[in-house]
């Protein structure tokens, strides 16, 4: 997992509550054998006017010109702004994979579905929960700008708007540590690689038939 560095990124907004995982990545794509390449299918039903299938050449499909991620410059958005209960629904990690594959690094919303929130950290995506009024304010500011950017500083736990106004957010210390150091579960366990090796040595001495 990559280390989460401080950055300033373009914000795309979807003004909806309860955006579910099926909207983020429709279920026909869950059958895939991949965890990468889902970016073209992010918000598939909203993004394209024709129905999509796995394995299709998506560059040939009809884009919905009204959908935000199809409009310039939002194909380069790194921050997504949405309303309450973002990513409710399935437990599968595909929703996180699709967002990240598209290039989204941060999602800001008043609240998130639990499983998605947990899955995000496992993959290096930062979900930021801000008060509904603050989120509302961000939506308003974005309305009045063609190139609305926010700065995200995880170390200091602040979101900073173009005028330099800082908004702090809460995050579990351990999760913050893992994101900042690029540690996923495997990375964390690998910090104990020596302990595992030592364990193996005594283990196979005692239980040679498992060797």
């Amino acid at each position: 997992m990559e280390k989460f560095e401080k950055f300033t990124g373009l914000v795309a907004a979807i003004d909806r509550a309860n955006i579910d995982t099926d909207a983020i990545i429709p279920k026909q794509y869950l059958k895939s054998i991949k965890r990468s390449g889902f970016g073209v299918n992010l918000f598939d039903d909203w993004r394209y006017l024709d129905p999509g299938e796995p394995g299709q050449d998506h560059s040939q499909r009809r884009l919905n010109p009204d959908f935000v991620l199809n409009r310039r410059p939002y194909e380069n958005a790194q921050i997504l702004l949405a309303r309450e209960n973002f990513a409710c629904g399935s437990s599968r990690e595909h929703a996180v994979w699709a967002l990240m594959d598209f290039g989204i690094k941060v999602v800001i919303a008043p609240s998130f579905a639990d499983i998605f929130y947990n899955n995000s950290f496992k993959n290096g995506l930062l979900p930021i929960a801000l008060d509904a009024e603050l989120v509302d304010q961000l939506f308003n500011e974005l309305e009045c700008s063609d190139d609305y950017r926010l700065s995200i500083d995880l170390e200091k736990q602040v979101v900073c708007n173009p005028d330099g106004v800082e908004m702090t957010f809460e995050i579990d210390e351990f999760r913050k540590y893992c994101l900042l150091n690029g540690l996923d579960d495997i990375g964390l366990t690998m910090q104990h690689a020596d302990v595992i090796r030592a364990f193996e040595q005594q283990y196979y001495e005692r239980l040679p038939w498992l060797k």
Binding site: M1, K31, I33, K34, R35, S36, P54, G55, E93, K122, D184, D185, I186, T189, M190, H192, A193, V195, I196, A198, F199, E200, Q202, Y203, L207, P208, W209, L210
Partner: protein, 481 residues
């Protein structure tokens, strides 16, 4: 049995006897965090085509090597066709998954029983069959019915794709210990009562959430009397009782089954192992967080009538009536299930006609299951109204053995289809599935809505009961045939 690098156990638990679960856990605990999360060492990792591709890709993206390749045994099962193998897999998604498994295994040099290999079969059938599941092991697989392997006094449970990747990379899992529960089945079961009836009866008693948060140890005379096949059937369905893992103590039956299998230890090492395994039972003074005792004599042949394995009763009772249920929420759930199943309350089971019969799945596709079904079918014919009756052996080796014993002829002469090994109609991922509204007597483990095909109606039964239904055209007490 103390953990070297882990934290010291508290004085109290060190004094009390240990459960079988405690013993296996302690043996495998690599380290423990202050919050009680442990790193648990994994001995055997079973891999199949559906839940592994993203795990392998994840490793590749992060450029991580596999920790211990020899712990892995791979096999395609969920998607493989059970007829026309010479044409390969026609569904492109299924084919891609199986091909990807083959490629990943070839690339990393992993042991895999590919399609066409006699040893190929359902992952939970082939592990024990090969001696790849041994007492005292931790066994994981990206599939919830991994609990099956608990029959060998192995701590076995299903894991998700990220955990598959974690085990591939580190040979460990991050786990919290569960609570201990014991289900004792006292006494002897009546003639004609099988392991499937025992476990369905248990789930009927404790419910599908009865084991949540616990590891269940099955004990008692009725359990010890079971063959390994029967014990696997019981442990297989532990997950349907809400517990991720089920366990049965190691005894002579276990050793007799394991000895001489391809992956089993031999000679002096076998002796050494047997000595070690003799401790794989709960201590007499071990304390369980929860105990349930069931009288074996109460168990009758079971049939599920609803859309959850706990919606089960004796074939000799009538379909339950929601009007008799005091709890309105439960009554509602019952009514919904009956509506989905197309059943009227208070109907006798012998009035419930079936369209299809499926004998197979990791619950009931072993040689003993096929023998039990064949002994009922012998000299009889599949009833006129039954559209399809199929037998899907759990592995190529089981299929071969059944053919050597002439079981295939008994089935075919009676009008059954005799198929190639795989998961098949247990979950309908390949072409074998129920059409909307079709009713099936099935030896599998899940009767959820749509499990065997959209709109399909599944009744879980034992192999003998499925065979009896096939030749009668409706459910019937196999003992009355």
């Amino acid at each position: 049995m103390h953990v070297k690098s882990g934290k010291c156990l508290t004085w109290v638990t060190a004094m009390a006897g240990k459960t079988l679960y405690d013993k296996i856990w302690d043996l495998h605990q690599v380290r423990q965090d202050d919050d009680g999360t442990s790193l648990l060492y994994i001995d055997r990792h079973l891999v199949h085509e559906v839940t592994s591709p993203q795990a392998f890709e994840g490793l590749e993206l992060a450029q991580r090597p596999l920790w211990r390749k020899r712990s892995i045994l791979a096999v395609p099962d969920h998607n493989v066709p059970t007829t026309g193998l010479e044409y390969g897999i026609t569904d492109p998604v299924a084919r891609l998954q199986v091909d990807t498994l083959d490629q990943n295994c070839d690339k990393h040099g992993l042991t895999e029983f590919k399609m066409g290999d006699l040893r190929q079969g359902i992952v939970h059938v082939i592990g024990p069959e090969q001696g790849a599941t041994l007492p005292g092991m931790t066994v994981v697989c990206g599939d919830s019915h991994t609990s099956t392997h608990g029959a060998f006094a192995a701590l076995a449970f299903g894991i998700g794709t990220s955990e598959v990747e974690h085990v591939l990379a580190t040979q460990c899992l991050i786990q919290k210990k569960s609570l201990n529960m014991r289900v004792t089945v006292d006494g002897e079961v009546g003639a004609g009562i099988t392991a499937k009836d025992i476990v369905l009866h248990i789930i009927g008693e404790i419910g599908t959430a009865g084991g949540t948060g616990h590891t269940i140890e099955f004990a008692g005379d009725a359990i010890s009397a079971l063959s390994m096949e029967g014990r696997m059937t019981v442990c297989n369905m532990t997950i349907e009782a809400g517990a991720r893992a089920g366990l049965i103590a190691c005894d002579q039956t276990t050793l007799d089954y394991i000895e001489g299998r391809p992956f089993s230890p031999r000679d002096e090492i076998w002796q050494q192992a047997v000595e070690f395994w003799s401790d794989l039972h709960s201590d007499a003074d071990a304390v369980f967080d929860r105990e349930v005792v069931i009288d074996a004599a109460d168990i009758e042949p079971q049939v599920t009538w609803g859309t959850s394995p706990e919606m089960v009763c004796s074939v000799n009772s009538k379909i339950p009536d929601p009007a008799q249920e005091g709890d309105p929420i439960k009554a509602d759930g019952m009514q919904n299930a009956l509506d989905y199943m197309g059943l009227e309350a208070n109907t006798a089971f012998d009035e419930v006609r079936i369209d299809k019969v499926f004998i197979g799945s990791c619950t009931n596709s072993r040689i003993e299951d096929l023998r039990a079904a064949a002994s009922v079918v012998k000299g009889r014919r599949v009833a006129a109204g039954v559209k399809l009756a199929m037998v899907v052996p759990g592995s190529g080796l089981i299929k071969q053995q059944a053919e050597d014993e002439g079981l295939d002829r008994i089935f075919v002469e009676a009008g059954f289809e005799w198929r190639e090994p795989g998961c098949s109609m247990c979950l309908g991922m390949n072409a074998d599935r129920l059409e909307p509204g079709e009713r099936c007597a099935s030896t599998s483990n899940r009767n959820f809505e749509g499990r065997q095909g959209q709109g399909g109606r599944t009744h879980l039964v034992s192999p003998a009961m499925a065979a009896a239904a096939a030749v009668s055209g409706h459910f019937v007490d196999v003992r009355d045939l």
